[in-house]
């Protein structure tokens, strides 16, 4: 097969080798058994190069089974509620690893759904789940007769989920509801990365279970948690993008030198490293803050909103630089780069885009006043 891709990408599949190398590093450095397990499963069942070449989605079921078997899909659900009871930190570590592999399965969504259900003391069912609403402006209502109505756009993987965990507003405040997918109308849509991003409509849908949320929990809290999750995944994807780009710059010869020897390319990669660094720090900080907090206060708002804003900015800058470094080959279907860049760009829109969070954060900072701004920043 004398296609140009083969010529441009020497040493066979550099992307896979790169991913394995990263997987190995994760195992070596993290000292985190849960993250280690996730890295091993993704490397075995969701190698990006293999998935990218797969003719169908036959790889999905074994991957999901392996993740579920290892207890990762319900990591944030206590054992008493049917989960594996991992810490919030461990769950965020799993999602960082998932971001590094950009595997298109509803792992983050199932984790978040399980977490949402367990905040209200509800057990989690088996199988893939997702959550709604997934956008700040959408609302689901719990009606006085106990049924659910409403409309939620951009719900990730709704069409591939068995259940949905919903945050609904009822006469007595917000509640969490578990519904079967069959109880909703799901219109299949796609995000930039061609993953399911669906419109979910509930018209007097019967829930499996409903329970009130703990006091202080609301849709903003759910969006902040979702924002932190997407930030962490984005940071993971950016790490891989940097590794792919550096490796490619080292392998690709032009003008009789590896392109990574050219100062212009080096400086682009240094800028990419800066974006990766900012995203991983901001996302890691938000995850760390949420893991150590009791409720979603102003400090958590600053952390999670900032992470989503900065990660989205980094995704946009980082994707552009990575594609520039890769040239034409990175624009092809057969190269894995798009699996990471398009997913990151799509994640900008989930659980509040960066403009939404920036406007909210700016309003809060303004309301606190000029003299309270530095103390807030310095408190983190």
């Amino acid at each position: 097969m004398a296609r140009k891709g083969a010529a441009v990408e020497p040493e066979g599949s550099s992307a896979s080798a790169c991913m394995r190398e990263r997987g190995g590093k994760i195992v070596g450095e993290s000292q985190n058994i849960v993250g280690e397990t996730a890295a091993r499963i993704f490397a075995d069942f969701a190698d990006p190069q293999t998935i990218n070449r797969a003719a169908d989605g036959a790889w999905k079921e074994p991957l999901w089974q392996a993740l579920a078997h290892a207890g990762l899909t319900l990591a944030w659900v206590p054992e008493t509620l049917g989960g594996s009871g991992a810490s919030l930190s461990d769950g965020f570590e799993v999602l960082t690893v998932a971001g590094r592999f950009a595997a298109p399965v509803p792992l983050a969504e199932t984790l978040l759904a399980g977490w949402l259900l367990s905040t209200s003391g509800m057990p989690s069912p088996d199988g893939p789940m997702t959550i709604a609403p997934a956008r700040p402006g959408d609302r689901i209502t719990l009606r006085p007769d106990g049924t659910l109505s409403g409309h939620a756009r951009g719900v990730p993987f709704a069409s591939e989920a068995r259940h949905l965990a919903l945050l609904a507003t009822g006469p007595a405040g917000p509640s969490v509801a578990l519904v079967e997918r069959g109880a909703c109308r799901v219109e299949r849509g796609e995000n930039l990365a061609s993953e399911a991003s669906d419109i979910v409509t509930l018209d007097r849908a019967e829930p499996v279970r409903v329970a009130p949320v703990p006091s202080g929990f609301d849709q903003t809290a759910l969006m902040l948690m979702g924002a932190a999750i997407r930030s962490v995944e984005t940071a993971g994807a950016l790490e891989t993008i940097l590794a792919l780009s550096v490796r490619y710059a080292d392998e690709r010869i032009a003008f009789e030198r590896p392109i990574g020897k050219f100062q212009a390319v080096q400086h682009n990669l240094a800028r990419l490293a800066g974006e990766v660094a900012a995203a991983m720090t901001a996302a890691g900080s938000a995850a760390d803050a949420i893991a150590g907090a009791d409720d979603f206060d102003d400090a958590i708002f600053l952390e999670a909103a900032s992470a989503k804003i900065r990660a989205a900015e980094a995704a946009q800058e980082g994707a552009a630089i990575a594609h520039q470094v890769h040239g034409a080959i990175g624009f092809t279907q057969e190269h894995v780069l798009h699996r990471f860049t398009l997913r990151m760009l799509a994640w900008r829109d989930d659980f509040g885009n960066e403009s939404h969070w920036a406007a909210e954060l700016g309003s809060r900072v303004a309301a606190r006043g000029a003299d309270e701004f530095w103390p807030l920043l310095a408190s983190r």
């Binding site: 550096v246 080096q266 490293a273 660094a277 991983m280 720090t281 406007a359 303004a366 310095a378």
Partner: protein, 386 residues
């Protein structure tokens, strides 16, 4: 290939909260007494001998150094708190800051014991101002092209040549200067440079002012015309300064001063926008807040990793690269967001005055202490590209 970046999640320990309270109280007292005006940009860049002595008396200069040299043996994270609070308040730290940040630590590592015993306690008391003598008219970023010469004589080292862009030279007591003691070798062009401690009162040293485009005077040209300094004022290895110059850079590059230099315009913008900004202003402000938060978390992370004995050279360079570009762009972003302020906005004049100053200062931020281009070269090396 090594593209592995690491930013540990460091939270400042509880002892920092107490210290921060003390620092804020001290600064409030100084502001109330009229020592400096936190709203007047440029003050943080200025010097005030009496103020520096009061800071020294608090134990906030050289605070990480051993007690026997006048230090407090406190952590780098505690020093971080002091540095950022002084910077945000626009306090006049110029006299002691260079000595605190980099000259002192170099002396601590490389000076003979009796020199350390003599000089370090005076730095800690806020009595000494240091200047860095590295750039020359023909060598700036290309440090190893330095030509100013030091020759060993019976009376000591004789210095000849010119250093330039030396901030503070006109008020400094001492310079840490880089001088050529041998020719570079074919194998190592960095060989042959030596670092010296130089008393600025030494006969044969002339300081000529260079005024900047901001109207301020920090820069100088320092001419050495056979100035002779003592034999024991060599710092570290003769001909081997290149090994010493790079190890301290993570400290110099990752501190809060690397993204807070124009921060006052952001605070003033918030004051100008008031409690209910329109959507455009709120969004623009929110992005700046998020970026500032991310930078600070990166900077704190590097401080924590340094405290833990790690060597985050690439991470430190990333903080300075991102941080200085951010603080350089900040006046422009604030100007855009302030474009539609009501004419009667109370602090409009203050904001405009600050913007004018910050806009002029901005140009230097990505040049001083390692240019953007040099930093990106270091980062690229860290990524395994060179």
């Amino acid at each position: 290939m090594s593209a592995e970046l690491r930013f540990d999640q460091i939270r400042l320990p509880p002892e920092c909260d107490k210290l921060r309270g003390e620092v804020r109280a001290f600064l409030a007292q100084e502001i109330a007494a009229g020592t400096f005006d936190p709203d007047r940009p440029g003050h943080g860049d200025s010097h005030d001998a009496a103020f520096s002595r009061r800071v020294g008396a608090k134990g906030w200069i050289g605070m990480t150094w051993p007690k026997k040299y006048g230090g407090q043996e406190r952590s780098f994270l505690e020093r971080y708190v002091v540095t950022e609070e002084f910077r945000v308040a626009n306090a006049p730290v110029r006299l002691h800051f260079v000595a605190d940040r980099q000259s002192g630590p170099i002396l601590l590592k490389y000076a003979p014991e009796h020199v350390k015993m003599d000089i370090l306690p005076r730095i800690c008391r806020g009595e000494l101002c240091f200047v860095i003598g590295m750039s020359e008219p023909g060598s700036g970023s290309d440090l190893f092209a330095a030509k100013a010469k030091a020759t060993r004589t019976e009376r000591g080292w004789r210095l000849k040549g010119t250093k330039i862009w030396t901030s503070n030279a006109h008020i400094a007591d001492y310079m840490l200067g880089l001088f050529r003691t041998s020719a570079p070798t074919k194998e190592n062009r960095r060989h042959g440079l030596t670092q010296f401690l130089i008393d600025m009162k030494t006969p044969g040293i002339t300081v000529n002012p260079i005024y900047q485009m901001t109207g301020q005077h920090d820069f100088n040209e320092v001419v050495f015309d056979d100035a002779v300094i003592p034999e024991d004022h060599v710092l570290g290895e003769v001909d081997g300064a290149w090994k010493q110059a790079t190890s301290e850079l993570a400290y110099e590059r990752s501190g809060p001063e690397r993204f807070l230099e124009t921060f006052y315009v952001l605070i003033e913008l918030i004051r100008a926008l008031g409690p209910n900004p329109d959507l455009r202003s709120a969004e623009g402000l929110g992005r700046l807040v998020a970026q500032a938060h991310a930078l600070r978390r990166m900077s704190v992370s590097v401080a924590g990793m340094l405290q833990a004995g790690k060597e985050p050279v690439v991470e430190g360079s990333l903080v300075k690269d991102l941080g200085t570009i951010w603080e350089q762009k900040l006046p422009g972003r604030v100007r855009e967001l302030a474009a539609f302020l009501a004419p009667e906005t109370g602090n409009r004049a203050t904001l405009e005055e600050q913007l004018a100053f910050a806009t002029k200062v901005a140009a230097k931020l990505t040049i001083q202490g390692g240019t953007t281009e040099i930093l990106r070269g270091i980062i690229a090396r860290g990524l395994g590209l060179r």
